[in-house]
Chain length 241, copies 2
């Protein structure tokens, strides 16, 4: 039975981390809200159910048969071994999950660069605060997080071409997406900084060239980044050139 | 061998979610930074290591033998079955992890009520923005998250006295802590709202009375809430009485 992915239509967003794993593995999946016969109503049907025992708080969530699994890191922890994208060793699976949760935290901070005060308001209603938060994000948080991921690669005793041990995992795919997203949202800041993270950039480039990922990126299933997603390009929030 | 918990000394913070599980289970553990012979230096020794292959991004992390596991939800996913605080059913373990990750997101939003712009600055340097963010948090986010947890309890076909199925899990313990923390940080807002969440408040009260939890709460190991932690009481951020 095909996996069912539930996420907002029209943007990459957090759902993209799951899509990249499903696409790399060539898994059979349905992107429910993009199916004309299902749509966003099918997603709300589960979220608003007053009888379903395992209602998710928010998308994305995955349905595998009757099981409903919410949160990106949780979905990837579940899918990883099934898709051949998790370490064989059980202990290393918790290492992978720890790295993915650090990515989760980073992505939440990316979101807050354009919504620092109130998620129910538009970006335009919190622009000065967004500018202040973005400045701190570019100055402190990008180097802190990317510096950390670079160190993990360098200190990997298995193969420093991967985040964990000596084979591709979903964590590598997610870091590809983080670099893509940051480069879209903050092109000036990233152009100045990229040279500090050679191992991470090399990982990004290798993931981009993988057969199934390259095919996915060239397909209509890969939406462009846009200003409804997590990674948004507002030139006024980026560094000066 | 005792579990080793690594977290900042002097505050409950995110480490407290792990402590509650260890205490409920009566597990053998060492709170490393509070050990005079180890202290915070022992924690930094791991975080700053340039040879350790699985460096954590931030505390808390758990050490079980050679394995280092960072992030609260990840630690609890690992410990849950070992401490008898996870569902027996494998699928339900992902349900538990999904709920714990929703708690993680909520706790991150609690943190941002006093640090909406820049985590490297003091609260005092971002007070107007903290006031705006707290107002939105109290108005929209507390009801959204607590309303969700209340629904999960009500819709639990097993036993609506627990979040999952018909037995205590680490998720129940974490929700006790969330209610404790919110009541400390936002006493006026919570006094007005508590009646909306009867099942959640009943869960809180039951957890508080459990033998091992009651013993822990009365011990010197349970630090008081304070303004170094996640849940901080700044009266100016709370609702009017």
């Amino acid at each position: 039975m095909a996996y069912e992915l539930y996420y907002w239509d029209g943007l990459q967003g957090r759902g993209e981390f799951v899509r990249l794993a499903l696409e790399e593995a060539g898994a059979d999946y349905i992107d429910i809200t993009r199916e004309p016969s299902r749509g966003t109503e099918a997603m709300f049907g589960i979220m608003k159910s007053d009888s379903e025992p395992h209602i998710p708080f928010a998308p994305p969530f995955l349905k595998d048969g009757a099981l409903i699994i919410p949160h990106v890191a949780n979905i990837l922890f579940y899918l990883g071994p099934r898709l051949g994208l998790a370490p064989e060793d059980e202990g290393l699976r918790y290492v992978a999950n720890g790295l993915q949760l650090t990515i989760t935290d980073f992505v939440a901070e990316v979101h807050d660069t354009h919504h620092p005060i109130d998620t129910s308001l538009y970006y335009e209603d919190q622009k000065p605060e967004a500018k202040a938060r973005s400045a701190a994000f570019i100055r402190d948080r990008i180097p802190k997080f990317l510096g950390y991921f670079e160190r993990v690669l360098r200190q990997n005793p298995g193969d420093p071409g991967y985040m964990i041990d000596n084979a591709l995992t979903y964590v590598d795919l997610s870091l590809f997406q983080v670099i893509e997203g940051l480069t879209y949202a903050f092109p000036n800041a990233m152009a100045k900084r990229k040279a500090d993270y050679p191992a991470l950039l090399a990982l990004h480039d290798r993931v981009e060239k993988r057969t199934n990922i390259a095919r996915y990126l060239a397909s209509s299933r890969r939406l462009d980044f846009n200003e409804d997603g997590i990674f948004r390009h507002y030139p006024e929030l980026d560094s000066e050139e």
